[in-house]
């Protein structure tokens, strides 16, 4: 009996040491898979908004992701009029209105193509469609394009920094 209880104690002691070690190493393994500081630090892009022309869709790059920038024409603005969802996504910089969004389908992350004739986006992967405001017009995508964190600085736009306009959009669930 004495032997057994001694063995039992040794077993439990080992279990405790091994348990602490296992948890600690799992933590280290998890952290080793995290994005590196250098990856996180490279996350800011500044756009000069004066270069964009009306109705020409330009794809910029931020954190390796495509960013759609579309200076809206009067046509698009007229269509958006009265549509609260579309107006809430509108970004006004200087005298112009823009659609600025992460150019990845919210379904599984393919890049939808801009169709000039119909002023909308079509995703080739699973057939999702978005209009010029970035709203879904055909499923499977569950929501409109996500809008990257931005800060308006005169005629410049800083992507990756949170400004009051973006914060308001986030608070109102316009974007994630």
């Amino acid at each position: 009996m004495k032997e057994n209880s001694r063995r039992g104690f040794m077993g439990k002691a080992f279990g405790a040491v091994a348990g602490v070690g296992a948890v600690a190493s799992l933590y280290a393994m998890k952290k080793s898979w995290d994005p590196l500081p250098s990856v996180k630090a490279a996350g800011f892009t500044t756009l000069d908004m004066s270069v964009y022309q009306e109705n020409v869709m330009v794809t910029e790059k931020w954190r390796g992701k495509p960013i759609f920038v579309l200076r809206k024409s009067a046509d698009i603005l007229a269509k958006e009029k009265g549509n609260a969802e579309a107006e809430a996504r509108d970004i006004k910089i200087g005298d112009y209105h823009y659609m600025i969004a992460i150019g990845l389908c919210t379904h599984l992350g393919c890049i939808p193509a801009f169709r000039k004739d119909s002023n909308d986006f079509l995703c080739a992967c699973h057939g999702g469609q978005f209009d010029a405001s970035g709203l879904v017009t055909k499923v499977p995508p569950p929501r409109g394009f996500d809008i990257p964190p931005f800060k308006i600085d005169g005629n410049k736009l800083v992507l990756g920094e949170v400004g009051p306009e973006w914060q308001a959009m986030k608070d109102n669930s316009v974007t994630l």
């Binding site: 994005p35 590196l36 990856v39 794809t59 390796g64 992701k65 599984l108 992350g109 992967c125 499977p140």
Partner: protein, 405 residues
């Protein structure tokens, strides 16, 4: 120390230290296989040989492959394909084997379903087999990332996005898996590690478990007959080889097994030398570009059926049904409530219809997954996906009503 005597031969020397004679009996000459089988029973050996081909060709590719986003594409398409003598051979063997191995796995699986080889006593063989299927799927996916072409990149993007869980928006988890906001160096590095080390280790371990699980219940036979292996083995060893229902694994069964393997290898190397194109997507010969999605993204043929189950629905329902399709085959031994272990065609109409309908439905799903999701194809895909789910839900009901045959 144990007592050793002067060895009379090399074999005796080894036998005293490793018990090679006993080992040979246990693993080969007295491992008993039923006689009542057909060529479909050779698929296990065909898979072993294909896996060996993958390992050997993989070793040679590994020596020249460079796992960086800047070099990966060229190391495959220039260094291995043009500079290394016979580099093309290893690449084509590896690519063709990666595709063909799934064809054989599906044949192996449906053979098991047809003859009821997952039923009472053989559940673990089935479960370890399905775990192997999952491991092979992960191995195929991680390997597909490595040439770092357009399909590699975008398949990586789409598949890792599945882990955001639809409306759960677990974007942190997706970024953690990638180690970056998009597939980049961290992503390529870790999938390289998974492909050449961790998953192959898991596969080898699972193959051991799969064989181990086979040992006690033994291989099934064409009639699902319960054989008294001890009695039949004794009959065989006592000289009544013709009357016994069993034969030795080696050399009796192996000789026929390797005959099938031989025929298979002729077919395999015909593909490698003359028809390797099906395993090499042309889109993947463009280097990865995060700012341009290819016009059509589709997985390799062996993932098409489950991809088609994801596609017709909104993202949440799609993901739930996709997850259902991934795990449901594992549950087969517990969903089939019938007491019968025999060929599907002899188990009465309901299961006979279920089996052939499941097989054809998976072929239809595979075909629809390849076609663009438009018009009539959309509809057929939707109907097939719903049918797939309904059939699995119906399985316990129809099998519990089955009469004992």
């Amino acid at each position: 120390m144990a007592h050793f005597t002067k060895a009379t031969s090399v074999k005796d020397w080894l036998d005293q230290r490793l018990a090679v004679e006993k080992l040979e009996k246990v693993m080969m000459s007295e491992y008993w296989i039923p006689k009542n089988i057909n060529f479909l029973w050779a698929m296990g050996m065909v898979l072993v040989i294909t896996f060996a081909l993958l390992v050997v060709s993989g070793i040679f590719l590994l020596m020249y492959y460079v796992p960086t986003t800047a070099e990966a594409f060229n190391s495959v398409n220039y260094t291995i394909m043009r500079e290394v003598d016979f580099g093309w051979l290893w690449r084509h063997v590896h690519g063709v084997a990666a595709s063909v191995v799934f064809l054989i796995i599906y044949i192996h699986m449906f053979t098991g379903i047809y003859y009821g080889s997952y039923k009472k006593g053989r559940e673990l063989i089935w479960i370890s087999g399905m775990l192997l299927f999952v491991a092979f799927s992960a191995e195929a996916f991680s390997g597909y990332m490595l040439p770092w072409g357009q399909m590699s990149y975008w398949a990586g993007m789409v598949i890792t996005n599945l882990f955001s869980g639809g409306s759960l928006h677990a974007d942190g988890l997706v970024e953690w898996i990638r180690g970056d906001y998009v597939p980049a160096q961290a992503f390529l590095g870790r999938f390289f590690m998974l492909h050449v080390l961790l998953i192959p280790l898991a596969i080898m371990g699972l193959i051991g478990l799969h064989f181990g699980a086979l040992r006690i219940p033994h291989v099934n036979n064409q009639d699902g007959e319960e054989i008294d292996f001890d009695a039949e083995a004794k009959k065989y060893l006592d000289g009544d080889k013709a009357g016994s229902k069993v034969m030795r694994f080696a050399n009796d069964f192996m000789s026929k097994d390797m005959m099938v393997v031989g025929v298979y290898l002729v077919f395999f190397f015909y593909l490698v030398f003359y028809n390797y194109g099906f395993a090499m997507d042309p889109v993947n010969f463009d280097p990865a570009n995060g700012l341009s999605t290819p016009a059509h993204i589709y997985p390799e043929w062996y993932f098409l059926w489950s991809y088609e189950i994801l596609r017709p629905f909104n993202i949440d329902l799609g993901l739930i049904l996709f997850a259902f399709a991934q795990v449901i085959f594992v549950m087969l031994p517990f969903l089939d409530r019938s007491p019968n272990t025999c060929a599907a065609n002899r188990r009465g109409t309901p299961f006979k219809v279920w089996f052939w309908l499941m097989l054809s439905n998976m072929i239809v799903l595979t075909a629809m997954g390849k076609l663009p999701p438009e018009g009539i194809f959309s509809t057929i895909g939707l109907v097939s996906a719903v049918l797939f789910v309904v059939m699995w839900l119906a399985l316990p009901v129809i099998t519990s009503r089955e009469k004992k045959v």
